[in-house]
Amino acid sequence: MRTILQALSLLLFSLFLFFATYKLPDWFPADIYLRLDPLLGLNAVFAAREMIGRALWALVTIGATLLIGRFFCAYACPMGASIDFLDLLLFRKKKRESLKTESSLRKTKYFLLIVFIMAAVTGLSLAFLMDPIALLTRFYTFFIYPLAITLINLFLDVMRPFFKGLGWVSLSHLHFFQPVFYMSAITLLIFGGIVALNLIAPRFWCRYLCPLGAFLSLISPLGLFKRKVSQECNECLKCRKACPMGAIPEDPKTSHLPECIQCRTCVKVCPQNAITFPVSFPIGGEYSGIDFSRRGFIYSLAGGLGAGFLAARSPFTLRQSKLQLIRAPGAIPETEFLRTCIRCGECMKSCLTNTLQPCLWESGFSGLWTPKMDLRLAPCDQNCNVCGKVCPTQAIRSVSIEEKNHAKVGTAVLRKEMCLVWAQNKICLICDEICPYNAIVFRPVEGYRRPVVIASKCNGCGFCEQRCPVLGESAIVVVPDGEIRLKEGSYVKEAKKLQLEFKADPGDDKFILEESGFKIESGKKEEKKSQPQNPKGFL
């Protein structure tokens, strides 16, 4: 029963993530697991210092835990499910000694929780490091999803001759876009590490480290169901050995209730049928409180504050908007963005073109795993606004396509010393050809028609930067200058105020025609042909 629920939850998690892509219907909450996570919600609300609508979903989890107890870890958590399934697969036969330092290790997760909450209070979003849902979403985004696509394409390639032979035209040409990400390896290592910890003890992560588990355990004492052992118990200690959470002490008639995730494994293994999970109202003496050491409590408080302080007092903070970093369209102002973003990777998963990539140190410790646009890799498509739709904390705002296209992310700048036309007098017009807004025009300079960017028409989509045929760095790059980052209100209005216009317009092309020396008479075309003065194809 529990395994089925776990598998179901993991499947749901995967499905929701799978659907986080273009073109996501407005009503579909692809980020629901992240919204339901109270740690991410608290983290974002504290760090951002304001209420976040979608974080209110976490109240569902909090309410259910208050009512039932710490059931989430055993039944709903996709990370817990992954750990359990992989444990079954990899370490089933492994003999694991019980840890001597058990009780002090257990406190670690509470201290971590305090560290994360305190860091959030100072304005540093840190919970993403260890929040299981964020961690797993990242793992799926940066590893499982690209891997799955690779495998599917491999399968299609192998089957292609058969599909062709059978005359299945569409299938024989089917191919899925292969996403690629920076930091796939790091993400895999972290996940692998978490699973490997099971070598020491089953659910090592959940027992000792998971800060979400710590939070849920703190609010679980009111829960209705609690483990109860009857007098039938013959102290065979089978339950103690089987408990995945190590929640049964030497006296098996008692329980470490805050550690109990109600998985009922003990009920199953008990030969005496002595264990039940009856509804019990009193908080009662059996509920063994969490014995923080005062020192540990103070250390972790200090640790959280210290981490926040350190992260805020780094040169990165002062350079924030002076870094060459292009955020997604609709990303709120940088300071608020760093505080609100929970680094789940959902936006990067959903990104249609694969331009959204995780940051490593580009904006310091406080910017780890935040999304940036790698426009040399891929542009931002003007028909897509999915990244905002799936952002569980709205660090990237969910806005209409029209609004999103006015959320200017930067401005393209021509590096004349690298441009084929400016530096080498070659005929190249790829940036002009591909620009969806006609923000690049050709002007006659020194006898040649050369590309020029009209900044007020450029919204930084990056098609030019991506397509520029110059090898290595692009000769036309999008810089953050001119970006519009709004916490609220309309991008369209703001763009109007700034006299920007991103839309269909024939632009300056007519002007060029007159000025660029078109040869209307077709007499001497033979000589003219190879000369770059007539690049527009008319003689």
């Binding site: 876009f177 839309k503 024939p506 092309d509």
Partner: protein
């Protein structure tokens, strides 16, 4: 194989069949005009035989809706596809190597939607090199070889259905320029080699049996991607000589606010000089309604 396309490039006997016109120019609504154009040319069955595998090459390279004029009108494409099926084609593959992301182009251009209910018709965008195959260009001047979409090489008939639009490198983008949508490496056309010469090289190996210019709308500036000025000539221009069809296409609207003749378009002139078709439309028999 490549031979199938190449073999028809000569002068297959059926080209001298009953039809009288070198060019047809039909004015009217997209579907009706397209049908009429095919009829006047002697019917699609002149080109498409029973059991043929047909490739239609519209322009659906940009994720733009039809009103931008950057892509072929979906109704024109669907009408031709339907006619091919009626003529007994085994399969009709509508394809392009899109510049924007494939699924967006198929969706926004409206071409996938327009063709979804015609059985035997498949709309595909190709953005992966594995679907291309290298062929030699024996008469190439700037290109020795080129990688072409395999499905085109394996087809029996190729029908080119470009939209009429301006182009910031080649002046206009009609049939010959549209063939660039069948090859893998387009970047070098713009950066390393002379695009006008390269287009002729390409035209020596990829020879559509029929070219149908969709001039129901014409993007007369801001091409090839737009946005730009969209005029509505409401015309379908069709013929078997790719240079003649293009050359006529140049004259139907002013480009960038100015009237041009086919001879003023460099890549067409080069193609003409290399004997790939006739750029002078005056002596041709043109059916015009």
């Amino acid at each position: 194989m490549a031979g199938a396309t190449l073999a028809l490039s000569g002068n297959p006997p059926f080209l001298h069949a009953k039809e009288d016109y070198d060019l047809v120019v039909i004015s009217g609504e997209p579907a009706a005009a397209t049908k009429k154009a095919l009829e006047t040319l002697g019917g699609i069955s002149r080109f498409v035989k029973k059991g043929h595998r047909v490739v239609l090459k519209p322009n659906m390279s940009f994720a733009r809706t039809p009103e931008f004029g950057a892509t072929t009108h979906p109704t024109v494409v669907a009408t031709v596809a339907q006619e091919c099926i009626h003529a007994g084609a085994r399969q009709v593959l509508i394809l392009d190597h899109t510049l924007h992301r494939a699924e967006l182009c198929l969706e926004r251009s409206g071409i996938r939607e327009a063709c979804k209910n015609i059985s035997g018709v498949h709309v595909q965008a190709f953005q992966e090199r594995k679907f291309f195959k290298e062929i030699k260009i024996p008469q190439g001047k700037v290109l020795d070889q080129v990688e072409v979409i395999k499905a085109v090489l394996e087809s029996d008939v190729l029908i080119n259905i470009p939209v009429a639009k301006s182009h910031s490198a080649t002046g206009v983008s009609l049939g010959l320029k549209g063939l660039m949508g069948l090859i893998w490496d387009r970047e070098s056309f713009h950066s390393r080699i002379n695009i006008n010469q390269a287009l002729s090289d390409l035209a020596t190996v990829i020879k559509p049996q029929l070219t149908i210019i969709d001039a129901t709308r014409a993007l007369t500036s801001g091409g090839p991607g737009g946005p730009g000025e969209v005029k509505k000539p409401n015309l379908i221009i069709a013929g078997t000589d790719p240079v003649a069809v293009d050359s006529y296409g140049v004259t139907i609207v002013p480009w960038y606010g100015q009237n041009f003749k086919g001879r003023q378009v460099e890549h067409l002139l080069i193609a003409h000089q290399r004997g790939l078709g006739n750029i002078d439309t005056d002596p041709l028999k043109i059916y015009k309604v």
